[in-house]
């Protein structure tokens, strides 16, 4: 009896899995895999969808979007990637891991479904593309930020010669930016204190350590772990008058001081335009991958009023020219 029930259960499960996987439609299916729910990734997705809409590809009319989000779980992400690769005519990965999973799933199934990616800092190192122009059926946008420009910001302020960097050392994007920061600091003669962490719980002690070592500035790369924790760090940073430069505008707005950042919505739009070209029949191999070009400077005025640090004229000039 027990065995019979079990067989029944297995049978029902398999048939429903098969039934679901085989139902298709006439619409062009676009599968989107988004690693987690972070503002940057959400903006990227919204930009992608709105760019496609502008090009005449509207959800429910001629295309169908399937958005899946494993909430940071790697093995679920792989399941989702295989599912999306099976059922979609085009797939879009947001973040390095999601894009890799989609590319591998498409390859494993022996298909040549176009794979688009975004929010990947170094697509060449991630094995997604051979170079920005040689990329087979994979194309997309890199979110490499202006790390050197951000480090230069510290030199606009007086008396800053020692800065810290805090990032999750398991995020490849952050490690790339850390290496860039090390180089930029060497050039500008700044001392950099490395604060690689493995979980949110280590943030407080790392900041305390920075304070003890007498850093006057802090650089935060585009790092998902820190992005989630920035609001909790705000008070400590203000108390100790640590100038915090963030490579993410949303992080700046929530608890940083200022910083040049990548516009993720713009990045998503650029990727969406690539997708529209492919859907219109343009050969994917003729479309080059691209980097973000415009880096708006953002600034949280509260930090400067609370700490009494004056905003240098050079930075005010940049902000004014941006508004114009």
């Amino acid at each position: 009896m027990k065995k019979l029930n079990l067989l029944l259960l297995l049978g029902v499960a398999t048939t429903s899995a098969m039934g679901l996987s085989s139902c298709g439609s006439d619409l062009t299916e676009i599968g989107i895999l988004q690693f987690g729910t972070f503002d940057a990734l959400e903006n990227c997705k919204d930009g992608f969808i709105s760019a496609l809409e502008d090009a005449g590809f509207v959800d429910g009319e001629n295309v169908k979007f399937t958005i899946q989000n494993p909430e940071g779980d790697s093995s679920t992400q792989d399941s989702m990637a295989i599912n999306l690769a099976t059922n979609s005519d085009m797939v879009f990965g947001i973040s390095t891991g999601s894009s890799q999973a989609l590319k591998n799933a498409v390859e494993d199934q022996g298909k040549d479904t176009p794979v688009l990616f975004s929010a990947v800092t170094d697509p060449v190192a991630a094995g997604l593309v051979t170079s920005f122009t040689e990329h087979g059926n994979v194309v997309g946008t890199s979110d490499a930020g202006p790390t050197d420009k951000n480090i230069e910001l510290f030199t606009e302020f007086e008396g800053i010669d020692k800065i810290g960097i805090i990032y999750n050392s398991a995020e490849s994007n952050s490690i790339i930016q850390k290496n860039e920061a090390v180089e930029a600091c060497e050039e500008l003669g700044l001392t950099l204190v490395d604060g690689g962490i493995s979980s949110q719980t280590e943030i407080d002690s790392t900041i305390q350590n920075f304070v003890a070592q007498g850093v006057q500035g802090l650089f935060i790369p585009t790092d998902n772990t820190i992005a989630l924790a920035i609001e909790g760090m705000k008070d400590t940073l203000e108390e100790n008058k640590i100038l915090t430069v963030c490579a993410d505008a949303l992080v700046t707005a929530e608890g940083g001081s200022l910083g040049y950042s990548v516009d993720y919505e713009n990045l998503g739009e650029t990727t969406g335009k690539m997708a529209a070209k492919i859907l219109n029949g343009v050969d994917i191999s003729t479309i080059p991958c691209s980097k973000s070009e415009s880096f708006p400077l953002s600034l949280r005025e509260d930090f400067f009023t609370n700490t009494g640090i004056a905003i240098p004229e050079s930075i005010q000039a940049i902000l004014e020219s941006q508004e114009a």
């Binding site: 093995s75 199934q109 991630a126």
Partner: protein
């Protein structure tokens, strides 16, 4: 049900992920069910082996040899984990946590955050694929063969005198000592055995998925334990052989559940974990509902008899 749709089902992720995680859960089974230790080191050991196997393959080492080295190194980690408890008297749970935390750094350093397979590099799976030219079938063949091999090996080993003494040491340590069993060496052996299985699943996972980050093991102990409990509820654990099969069944059912959920058209995947919880609860309570129904049926059938008396 035609062959095409069966092939399509096999092409989904459930059977292959299920087999990988079955090997993983068998490793957890050895530490949790046989030695009675909740070993958390697996959270770092799993990506450790995955990262190593990709690193070796990228450097031109044969994929099978890459897996072997990764497994041996994983076994050594398991040995250290065991030693922490036996020689330094550290609570086994804490020993596992220590390894989990400490191994995270090598994972990050070796992978620099995320390691992926170089293009045109052979893995154990693509190797077979060149012979039979069907990637899904080659994955299933290799994983199925390895899983069955491990189950046979475990069934044989835990039936030998050494294996039985290991099980005895886990069940009742004082009784085992009274029988003259060296429980320390048995504990070490068990931890190495478990670590080898975890590393094997990690190494295979790496070559199958082709990219591993140090976060890949996040939550893996939860998956392993869920698989064990799921299988036990469905098949029971009356005999050792049945326990082994129940783990394999649990592994496949677990991934089937996830696969079914994510294939629901228009499903908002933010609800995935909630639905996963509900479905697992549902599967686990089926036997209880069955018991309840059969009990009521029995009572109903007996009542008229009593009145006749």
């Amino acid at each position: 049900m035609n062959w095409g749709s069966i092939l399509e089902f096999l092409g989904t992720d459930a059977p292959t992920q299920g087999l990988i995680w079955t090997i993983f859960a068998l490793g957890v089974f050895v530490s949790y069910r046989i030695l009675d230790v909740a070993d958390l080191s697996v959270e770092s050991l799993f990506p450790f082996a995955g990262i190593l196997s990709l690193l070796f393959v990228n450097n031109g080492i044969h994929p099978i040899l890459a897996i072997l080295i990764a497994v041996i190194l994983g076994g050594i980690i398991g040995f250290i984990n065991g030693c922490l408890h036996i020689y330094f008297k550290i609570n086994p749970l804490l020993a596992g946590i220590i390894i989990m935390v400490a191994l995270y750094s090598p994972n990050v350093i070796i992978s620099s955050g995320n390691i992926s397979l170089n293009t045109d590099t052979y893995t154990i799976f693509t190797g077979l694929n060149t012979v039979i030219d069907n990637y899904v079938v080659s994955k299933l063949l290799i994983l199925g063969f390895i899983t069955l091999g491990i189950m046979a090996l475990m069934y044989w080993f835990f039936g030998t005198e050494l294996g039985l003494s290991l099980r005895a040491a886990g069940k009742n340590i004082n009784m085992a000592r009274a029988q003259g069993i060296n429980t320390n060496s048995r504990y070490l052996l068990g931890m190495v055995f478990s670590a080898i299985l975890i590393s094997l699943s990690g190494a295979l996972y790496g070559q199958m998925i082709k990219h591993v980050s140090p976060d890949a093991g996040k939550g893996s102990i939860v998956i392993g334990l869920t698989i064990i409990f799921l299988g036990e509820v469905l098949l029971g654990h009356r005999s050792f052989k049945l326990s082994l099969f129940s783990v394999a069944l649990g592994g496949i059912i677990y991934w089937l559940i996830i696969d079914i959920i994510i294939q629901i058209p228009g499903f908002n995947t933010n609800y995935l974990n909630l639905l996963k919880g509900i479905l697992i609860t549902f599967v686990v309570v089926i036997p209880e509902i069955k018991k309840f129904i059969s009990k009521r049926a029995k009572n109903k059938g007996q009542k008229p008899l009593k009145e006749n008396d």
